[in-house]
């Protein structure tokens, strides 16, 4: 079975956000680029399934500028077989445009499973997976925290308010991964060496007319400075009073 993993390269979660001169995007100076944390679960899930089935191919796909190749190389080092880089230097926050581009590349490959992260740590849109599935006409479950394959049926679980939905879906299917699905492996030295010889196919891409227009990127208003009401249990009465009389929240 061919499995696809869609990977986005994002700024490290520790990144200090500075708005670029255009007032609309992140200033890339000093940013460390990493694999979107949820996509690590996606890579791991595909690799574990391939190992269990003892056959198949795992293809990593990423859409973005030149730097995404380091992240694709990382997926190859983890164990993916090959990678496709959809090259665009103008990656707008437009999930539908990304999903359309991914659908075009993925459709002819006829995968059994397409894995994505539940959301990207930069724009946290959580939309590319279900949009891609809709465009491909495939069943899809999002925010998957447990996965089991039984023949051609996937049994998965997803967290909802107050419980875990259990879902069954037939392959081929699209799944987006939540934390807790597995523990992503680190690339081994052997994996890193092997990855150097694995192919990354680069394809030029035109994203077409955007569906969303980026107006601005701003830093959020700072929270008004709070106060230390006191030390230890002695401060409790004042805290209760402040919550009741000043903040009026209890």
């Amino acid at each position: 079975m061919l499995q696809i993993v869609c990977i986005k390269q994002v700024p490290d979660t520790e990144t200090r956000v500075k708005v670029a001169g255009d007032g609309r995007t992140l200033d890339p100076a000093g940013v460390t680029w990493v694999m979107n944390p949820y996509d690590e679960y996606a890579v791991e899930a595909a690799l574990q399934l391939k190992e269990k089935l003892g056959a198949g191919e795992v293809v990593a796909v990423s859409l973005g500028g030149a730097t995404v190749q380091t992240t694709l190389r990382n997926a190859l080092a983890m164990g993916a077989d090959r990678a496709i880089h959809l090259r665009t230097d103008a990656l707008a926050p437009d999930g539908l445009a990304v999903a359309k581009a991914l659908a075009e590349v993925i459709r002819p490959l006829g995968p059994g499973l397409v894995w994505l992260g539940k959301s990207a740590a930069d724009d946290d849109a959580a939309q590319v997976g279900p949009m891609l599935a809709t465009l491909l006409g495939l069943p899809c479950t999002t925010v998957v925290a447990a996965f089991e394959l039984d023949g051609q049926t996937a049994r998965v679980e997803r967290e909802i308010e107050g419980g875990r939905e259990q879902v069954e879906l037939p392959l081929p299917a699209v799944l987006t991964c939540d934390k807790g699905l597995n523990s992503p492996r680190y690339a081994s030295l052997k994996g890193i060496m092997a990855a150097k010889k694995k192919p990354i196919e680069e394809r030029a891409l035109d994203l077409g007319a955007p569906h969303l227009e980026l107006v601005s990127l701003e830093l959020p208003p700072a929270r008004a400075a709070g106060r230390i009401v006191g030390e230890g249990a002695a401060a409790v009465p004042e805290l209760v009073r402040a919550l009741r009389d000043d903040a009026k929240v209890i």
């Binding site: 930069d122 946290d124 939905e165």
Partner: protein
């Protein structure tokens, strides 16, 4: 032009996020124009006429026997049919577990962009502009839409329902939609671990969260007692979830849940940037930590520096007495 609001129900009860979305639709209708039309997928009418009080002028009810639980393909087909029938200027979804799954499917079917998990909406020069937290809340992105309808999902707890207008009812009409339920699709087969009556952290009015400072899972009874005294739900930092002390559903932060309760109490939590990403939209934040330099105090409205094993029981008993 109308505004279409996707209403969420579970087990025959309209969920609070639906009223929040209707509230925002009513406010936007002042500049975008109305009417405000709801659409709800269910096996039977969960009492939708009453949502007139929450701001709905009309509600379209899509019924199907498969709609006893969330059915992604079926709900998307029905809501897309409502989009076609109503031709709204704007479609609002709650950014609940259901809405976050459903909205992108409907947007893809309609071929339009979606602004997910918005914290504010505005109308400027007749255009909808959506504000959404990005980079884990470290920045706010504003986006506009290049085609109609605009689609947005709204982060729970940030949008106020309107004050109920006494006795106003919404007209409820059946929605016609063509859906082939025999086509291969994802089916919900069950709901595991449905917890006590407590609301999920994303929907609770008050959240009390514990971190590694709790020293072990057995001490979370202190957190639970404080939560009970406040009628609050329990949350946790990733450190304690990863240690297996608390279930993942309680994790607050970048890789957990984003919460915006009116009161958030962080106990023995240092305030790492990834934790702050999940709770800085809370209206009031209280931190209890023995380290006066803990970063959590930078975002807290009120802080107590001290040993949580003394402060928390004292707080719990003070709250019990003040009832």
């Amino acid at each position: 032009m109308s505004i279409l609001v996707v209403l969420e129900q579970r087990d025959g009860h309209v969920r609070p996020v639906s009223r929040e979305a209707l509230g925002e639709a009513s406010r936007l209708a002042a500049s975008l124009g109305g009417p405000v039309v709801g659409v709800c997928c269910a096996v039977a009418d969960p009492g939708l006429a009453a949502l007139g009080e929450a701001g709905a002028d009309k509600v379209l009810l899509a019924t199907h026997e498969a709609f006893a639980r969330y059915d992604a393909a079926g709900f998307a087909t029905a809501v897309a049919a409502a989009v076609t029938a109503v031709a709204p200027a704007l479609v609002l979804f709650p950014a609940s577990a259901m809405g976050r799954d459903l909205a992108p499917r409907v947007a893809a079917m309609a071929g339009v962009g979606l602004a997910s998990d918005c914290s504010a909406l505005a109308v400027a020069d007749g255009r909808v502009v959506a504000t959404r937290p990005v980079y884990a809340g470290k920045a706010l992105q504003k986006v506009a839409f290049t085609a109609s309808p605009a689609m947005a999902s709204l982060r729970p707890k940030l949008f106020a329902p309107i004050e109920p207008a006494g006795g106003r009812t919404a007209a409820v009409e059946p929605l016609a939609f063509a859906w082939d339920a025999a086509a291969p699709r994802a089916k919900v087969t069950g709901l595991a671990g449905a917890k006590s009556g407590k609301p999920d952290v994303t929907e609770a009015e008050i959240v009390v969260s514990g971190g590694r400072g709790m020293k072990g899972p057995e001490h979370f009874t202190l957190i639970e007692q404080l939560a009970d005294a406040l009628g609050a739900s329990v949350g946790a930092s990733r450190a304690v979830v990863d240690a297996g002390w608390r279930p993942h559903g309680e994790q607050v932060g970048q890789t957990g849940k984003v919460v915006a309760p009116k009161l958030y109490i962080a106990v023995g939590i240092s305030g790492a940037i990834q934790h702050l990403a999940g709770m800085t939209s809370s209206k009031c934040i209280v931190a209890i930590n023995k380290d006066p330099d803990a970063p959590i105090f930078k975002v807290a409205d009120y802080g107590i520096v001290g040993d949580l094993f003394e402060v928390v029981p004292a707080l719990t008993s003070a709250l019990r007495q003040s009832r």
